[in-house]
Amino acid sequence: MTDTYSILSMTEHAGYVWPCYALAAVLLIGLVVSSLNGLRKTRIELEQAEKNIVRTPQ
Amino acid sequence: MKGLMAIFRRELRLAMRQSTDSAMVVAFFIIAVVLFAFGVGPEPNMLAKIGPGVIWVAALLAAMLSMDRLFQSDHDDGTLELLVLAPVALELTVCVKILVHWLTTGLPLIIAAPLLFVMMNVPTEIWPVMLYTLLLGTPVLSLIGSVGAALVLGARRGGVLLSLLVLPLLIPVLIFAVGAGDAVLFGQGAKANLLLLGGMFLASLALAPWATAQALREAVA
């Protein structure tokens, strides 16, 4: 409908539209990264703890 | 009923014995408003414009200041467990405690308010409306505050946390109370704002004691 240039530049509103999408990307990806990081750390700790339980006799 | 009266008398006696607490709340209220007056400078028109808002914010913070002791001492010395197990319904006990809290902090704030109206140069035609908003609004502060106070029992940094939980819920009270004064100056009459404050009071009276009682049961469980 409109040529790519005008869409990428968003005419005079680029300063408002692009920050929105950038912020959305930063927030949503940031949350994913921190969640996966937490998952990984907890899993490693859990595996370690389970190993210790097995090693210590009753 | 007799049990309730006994609780009421006990609470009132305790509050009287610690009447310096009430005095400190009022002192905080006055000092906070005076600080604003110094902060923005003594220009009368400016003071009149921000007066109602400043007085209400100060009242809000002052009420918060006294909130965390509502159940704290009972929690610390084990009285709370007795109250939870007592034959009197916990919801009613909570109502009595909130009533006493309001009598010892909300009411003194309202009595001190006219002094601040003078200091902040609040136009005399909105004095009655401002007093009505305080009369309707300060019980809401006590009611909603009690939920927060019960929730943070035993938490770390309970005081700060209490403010974080309760102050956002009190924003509507602040908006409509201050709006009432503006509406009168506008010549519109403050009826709508006062009706809304009344609605908030009734709604919080219906829900807050119940939520507080639930939170207290969890706190001693």
Partner: protein
């Protein structure tokens, strides 16, 4: 009810969750790819707002999800309190940060949209104010939950807070109808069908689906992590006793 109980079994949940997660992720990515393509390149500009209408495709789904997450949290908290379902509590806890992020996103993008269109970053009207209160409720929930040494106590106290705070949700939803404010009324969920052109409705719904699946996927990940953390706590507890 029986199905709910079966689902509430953590081991069964973990098994089910690891099977569903990849699919949820794939659907999320596909929806985002399609949605972003439509939102940024293939959708027309608005007859009044020009390109700023593209902010809508982020702002509106984020606002929807902010309300959805809070409602989901309140329901989970109620289930956790009444039926003592451990999994419901885990769901509520895992939802909170996601909901807070959506609320923040809705607030900031709304501000970025308001400046060029309304002419102001922020007004203290009912919709914006109640949305800000929602953000504080999310923060308060997380803070209260972390403030206790006993996690079970924190879980119950914060569950009550979520339920009390739920009064805010209908206020947000209906604020634009009750008050004559600057914020425009709903365009999509309204009597008489959406008042939005299909070319713009498609990217909006695609983005909404993307946000929804993003939430679903992330919820499963976070719940899995939380269940592991609980197991870890139990293990350490047992070890300390030996």
């Amino acid at each position: 009810m029986k199905m709910l109980h079966q689902f509430a079994n953590p081991t069964r949940f973990l098994r089910l969750s690891t099977r569903v997660e990849p699919w949820a992720l794939v659907v999320t990515v596909v929806c985002f790819a399609l949605g972003l393509y439509y939102a940024l390149f293939s959708s027309p500009v608005d007859y009044q707002q020009g390109h700023t209408v593209r902010i809508m495709y982020i702002h509106v789904p984020a606002a929807w999800m902010a309300l959805f997450c809070y409602t989901a949290m309140a329901v989970s908290a109620a289930v956790a309190l009444i039926w003592k379902h451990a999994l419901a509590d885990v769901a509520a806890k895992s939802t909170a940060p996601i909901g807070a992020v959506f609320t923040l996103l809705a607030l900031v993008t709304g501000s970025l949209w308001g400046k060029p269109m309304w002419g102001t970053w922020w007004v203290w009207d009912a919709r914006l104010t109640s949305m800000l209160v929602l953000f504080f409720l999310y923060l308060g929930y997380m803070a209260l939950r972390d403030a206790f040494d006993d996690p079970a106590r924190g879980a119950r106290a914060s569950s009550i807070l979520v339920i009390v705070g739920f009064v805010n949700v209908p206020i947000i939803k209906f604020s634009v109808d009750w008050w004559n404010t600057l914020h425009q009324p709903s365009s999509v969920f309204r009597m008489g069908g959406p008042k939005i052109h299909p070319d713009m409705l498609v990217p909006l719904l695609l983005m909404a689906a993307a946000f929804q699946f993003y939430y679903f996927w992330l919820l499963l990940v976070r719940m899995r992590r939380e269940l592991m953390a609980q197991r870890l706590r139990a293990l350490r507890h047992r070890q300390a006793e030996h």
